[in-house]
């Protein structure tokens, strides 16, 4: 079988790219190293509960939301049932030191009213800040379908940081907390993030917030159905070792098994720092090779999956962010587990609707577990003990900060090593390569004909970012104007 396009990685951007390319008539094969497609987004079942591991909630899918036309164009709208998050507070922020809790309502106007009432002295500046986000969040390729797409832009790379932007509210640390908490959704600190990136990510949620009935699992199953309808082939347990390429272009790839597969197009969605090692030496110019290799990774995390004795009603349609003290969101790898911020979200509901489990995410560094990185050490008693200790300590931490919680039982603890296993991101980077201020992330196009990049590192983090990356890469291949035209018809 000859293929036109080979896609490395069956994550959300790889599956999106596969679907768009197959619909344009290409014969597409997706290669996934893991035993199952979309290992990060698909979630898992434990003790009769469904837990999401990658996808938790989506922004920008409400009426007139900029993500909606893509969702419709892909065919996901017909296959998935969405439910809105709590209008009065889709996310809540709690300051652990004081127990103060603030709710972030859905919608720019509601946010302005809520924050303006809470901080009347700066109501005007709040309105201006939120208006900026409302105007700017969807100015992003494939979210903005009307303006010039390919302008060379240094703004998001060299612009103002979120921290600098929030200095305007320096006298109101609790306000700064609320306006910076969504940095958890791109995985790194407001001082290293452009206000533009924060505007895109946080702004999509300020616009509208939805969950998917059935979670990330349902999302992946829907994408796989669409891929099957489009004739895409998928091979799991297929780890790509090298790309076959010369300066004249790619000709295919080699699997770890030694098997060669040929095609004129390869779309690489893996962490881009891994790409140079898969290409013949000397093929990339030194500047570009270094640029890929030196891309900064986002921090990793511990993720707690726990079972509850009682339904966790306080997490129904509403997540909880806990920060030790008020102020711009911060975290350091040197902080003890008890001092770090954390994020709680509900497990999938049982058939009677009860929320009998939770997912808790706490930032962590790879160094905390790197001693157990080898397969052999991973099976050691020391690693198991470490996981039990961390899990117990985090459950206690959650309980101390959240009197709403009933008794919890630890089911699983994912560590930076676990995150690495599923995503292959170096150091278990939770969002892979980040979009840091001052860093030029790569484009879909490379100088090697037929070789394209996709994934969160190319566009933006999360579900929206991965889908946008899939469109951006496919548009680079198929022509942006025709693809954007199709999406405009889906508005």
């Amino acid at each position: 079988m000859m293929y036109d396009s080979l896609i490395i990685g069956a994550g959300l951007s790889g599956l999106t790219s596969a679907l768009l390319l197959a619909r344009s008539g290409r014969r597409v094969l997706v290669l996934e190293q893991h035993a199952q497609p979309a290992p990060v987004a698909r979630g898992f079942f434990r003790d009769g509960l469904y837990f999401d591991s990658g996808f938790h909630y989506a922004g920008g899918l409400g009426p007139k939301g900029a993500f909606r036309p893509l969702f419709r164009h892909l065919g996901l709208e017909q296959k998935l049932e969405l439910y809105p998050f709590a209008a009065q507070g889709f996310d809540r922020l709690r300051i652990a030191a004081t127990g103060e809790t603030c709710s972030m309502p859905v919608g720019f106007e509601n946010i302005k009213a809520k924050l303006g009432d809470q901080f009347p002295a700066v109501r005007g500046q709040i309105n201006q800040y939120i208006d900026e986000i409302a105007d700017n969040w969807s100015r992003f390729p494939y979210l903005d379908l009307d303006s010039d797409l390919t302008g060379f832009s240094l703004e998001s790379v060299q612009g103002c940081s979120l921290s600098d932007r929030l200095q305007a509210f320096a006298d109101y640390p609790l306000l700064q907390s609320q306006l910076s908490m969504h940095s958890l959704l791109y995985g790194f600190l407001p001082e290293a993030a452009s206000a533009t990136l924060n505007s895109l990510v946080a702004g999509s949620y300020y616009h509208s917030v939805h969950g998917i009935v059935g979670g990330g699992r349902a999302l992946v199953e829907a994408l796989l159905e669409l891929l099957a309808e489009a004739g895409v082939q998928l091979r799991c347990g297929a780890e790509v070792a090298t790309l076959l390429a010369t300066s004249a272009g790619v000709t295919g790839l080699t699997l770890l098994s030694g098997e060669e597969i040929f095609a004129q197009e390869v779309i690489a969605t893996q962490n881009p720092t891994l790409l140079p090692g898969m290409l013949p030496k000397g093929l990339l110019r030194p500047v570009y090779q270094k640029r890929l290799e030196q891309l900064r990774q986002t921090p990793s995390a511990y993720i707690v999956y726990a079972k509850s004795r009682q339904s966790l009603e306080f997490l129904r349609g509403s997540n909880l962010f806990v920060q030790p003290k008020a102020g711009i969101f911060s975290y350091a790898a040197t902080q003890s587990l008890d001092e770090r911020p954390f994020y709680l979200t509900a497990a999938g509901p049982k058939s009677d609707g009860g929320i009998m489990g939770l997912v808790g995410i706490v930032p962590a560094g790879y160094a905390e577990v790197s001693a157990w990185a080898s397969a052999e050490k991973r099976r050691s008693a020391g690693y198991r003990t470490h996981k039990q200790k961390v899990g117990a300590r985090l459950l206690k931490r959650f309980a101390d900060s959240c009197p709403e919680l009933a008794e919890l039982e630890l089911l699983e603890l994912a560590t930076p090593l676990t995150l690495h296993d599923y995503s292959l991101a170096p150091q278990g980077a939770i969002y892979g390569v980040g979009h840091f201020l001052g860093q030029y992330n790569p484009y879909p196009l490379t100088r090697i004909p037929g070789l394209f990049l996709s994934g969160q590192a190319i566009a933006a983090p999360g579900f929206l970012g991965a889908v946008a990356a899939g469109y951006l890469t496919s548009g680079s291949i198929l022509g942006h104007e025709s693809l954007r035209g199709e999406i405009r018809a889906c508005r």
Partner: protein, 84 residues
């Protein structure tokens, strides 16, 4: 740094990072037609210059208007003068 030193640093950095032949690198050389760069290389060029001179380039319009190696020299010299 003298003007000549600045130009030398620009040329040697670009030669190394883009694998260019120093003999082709005259100030009149068009970076696209003569040196073989393309629009994809613009960001890499910015990264090389930022690394070589430890400054940040925010002048989008000026970068977009660069056509020759001499344009790069002038652009960097101006920035170096501003910063000193």
């Amino acid at each position: 740094m003298t003007e000549q030193e600045v130009i030398e640093r620009i040329d040697s950095s670009l030669a190394e990072e883009f694998e260019l032949d120093r003999a082709d690198m005259t100030p009149e050389a068009n970076i696209y037609d003569d040196l073989g760069l393309d629009s994809l290389d613009t960001v890499d060029m910015v990264i090389v210059l930022e690394g070589a001179f430890d400054f940040k380039i925010r002048e989008e319009e000026a970068v977009r208007n660069i056509r020759t190696l001499g344009d790069i020299h002038r652009f960097v010299l101006e920035k170096v003068t501003q910063n000193s």
